[in-house]
Symmetry: C2
């Protein structure tokens, strides 16, 4: 075991930060350290929180983190959302409690980019989850935004996925239709002090009736972070879902799915960087694209040529 991973496993905050930076840069020492870290991970409960911009996800995560800290849990927060306060956006409502959380050694916050402009989760999110987990964090909260690939991918990492909606956003329900519907383990209607809450709830319920295939009733929780309402109920439903997963083989299956996605991601990344980044292929690829542009060659034959060079 290297010094780096042994420090990470002891929960050393600086080592965790350094480890994450190294793994994001594909550092070989870090990749080696991940082998030990992987073996020590698997205990944390990973909670994904997604929803449209302006739905108050960050405030909700803050309240959840605050409650978990009160219960003595160590908390990791991963913000895959450039507009999140956790990523350096505007500060949240209650500055005193926010500062309390920010200076708490048992809360670790990491902001990460998405892959490409609006693309899926960066593959290193998988690593960060394992690093947080192995370092002794009990709860890992992941924030993603929008209705893109990142939100769908969150299901592949999170044990529990929370979809946050708010009243009054014109296309909130259309958003659900587009795919968020199927990924929610828990629905939250946030800003429930605003008008239009009932309509959102009715719409979710009627859609759940149509599409639900699960043996489990998906709860809809009304929250208001302004009025501090519904947070304990949400906490309770997260715990219920955790217990539900532990029964039978559901958690095991979820985790298997996560590792499969992670493995796919690592392989994809390595192969693509082999072909498109390494200089010995890059020139070749550029030449082929040039030929394709000039109609001297078609993309399928070009792919054959490249694959012929790298495959056994």
């Amino acid at each position: 075991m290297s010094e780096l991973d042994s420090k990470v496993l002891k929960g050393d905050i600086r080592a965790i930060a350094r480890m994450i930076t190294l793994i994001e840069n594909n550092d070989s020492v870090a990749i080696d350290a991940m082998k030990n870290i992987h073996k020590k991970s698997g205990k944390a409960h990973v909670i994904g929180i997604t929803g449209v911009m302006g739905s108050g996800k960050s405030s909700l995560i803050f309240e959840l983190a605050y409650q978990y800290r009160k219960r003595g849990k160590k908390v990791g927060i991963i913000a895959v959302d450039p507009t999140s306060p956790f990523s350096g956006g505007a500060i949240l409502g209650d500055r005193v409690r926010m500062m309390e959380l920010a200076t708490d050694d048992n809360v670790f916050i990491r902001s990460m980019g998405t892959q490409g402009m609006l693309g899926g989760l960066a593959s290193s999110v998988f690593d960060v989850v394992e690093i947080f987990d192995a370092s002794g964090m009990d709860i890992i909260l992941i924030e993603t935004v929008g209705v893109g690939q990142a939100e769908v991918d969150i299901v592949k990492i999170a044990d529990t996925t929370i979809v946050v909606l708010v009243p009054g956003l014109g296309d909130s329900i259309q958003t659900i239709k587009a795919g968020l519907m199927e990924i929610a383990d828990i629905f939250v209607v946030n800003k429930s002090d605003k008008s239009g809450v009932e309509q959102v709830v009715v719409e979710i319920e009627s859609m759940l009736e149509i599409s639900s295939k699960s043996d489990r009733k998906i709860p809809i929780i009304l929250t208001s972070t302004n009025k501090n309402q519904g947070i304990l109920e949400l906490l309770n439903e997260i715990e219920n879902h955790r217990i539900y997963l532990k029964k039978g083989k559901k958690l095991e299956e979820k985790r298997k799915k996560r590792y499969e996605t992670e493995l796919t991601e690592i392989i994809r990344k390595r192969l693509m960087s082999l072909i498109f980044d390494e200089s010995k292929f890059k020139d070749k690829v550029d030449r082929l694209i040039d030929q394709i542009s000039k109609k001297e060659l078609d993309p399928y034959s070009a792919a054959d040529e490249i694959l012929g060079k790298i495959l056994k």
Copy 2:
């Protein structure tokens, strides 16, 4: 040349439909036919139209197609939107003209899925564009929905990308902020007979002022498909953009980017299907994932093992 591609190149509608189905299924005869088709493609102008649900993209595409037909152009429509009327959704406003278009032999409509639940454009969209193009279509209209990867990917295929907004959708501008802003060659504010148009225009303008790096002023066109307003202006701006691209090397560069993305996609798909679909690797992969789950192995070492088996 096979019978299939020679028929496609003659514009035979049945052959085109068959060719697309074959290529979607990775048929080797179709892949072979693509070699000829690629060489004959490159003349069509590819127009991508994206925007949130309910923004009236389909009606707009219908109006554009109608106008192009009046000018004697052959038109292909690709709907990468499950809710589009072109994909079998609700029929558009003017039934008589819709029927006219639907029975016109010089209009070919194809609906396609996205990759994964909300993922990027299916790689076969590239092929369909080339098939349409080589078969003699002058204009290819691609419809995508939402703010996911598919909308960003459209830029990699389309010569001209149109982003459609509407007044009154709460988060329309936030949507732009999230990434659509950078991809628009032309903005359309549709349903311009509704109130709130001015606000949308002002917001687009102020954001264009901040982010615009281009030498070209990005036009904002107000349209109303109900009142049949703005369509000719939009047509005119599409033509202006086409001329702009033809000046210098802009079109050439755009197309090069398209081929690069297509090549990447083909390679990615082949490698992933080699590893995760072919039985000789699939069992191995399943065993490795099992070991990862049991913490006997970490994902990076598993990736090494798989890559060691396939790479030279």
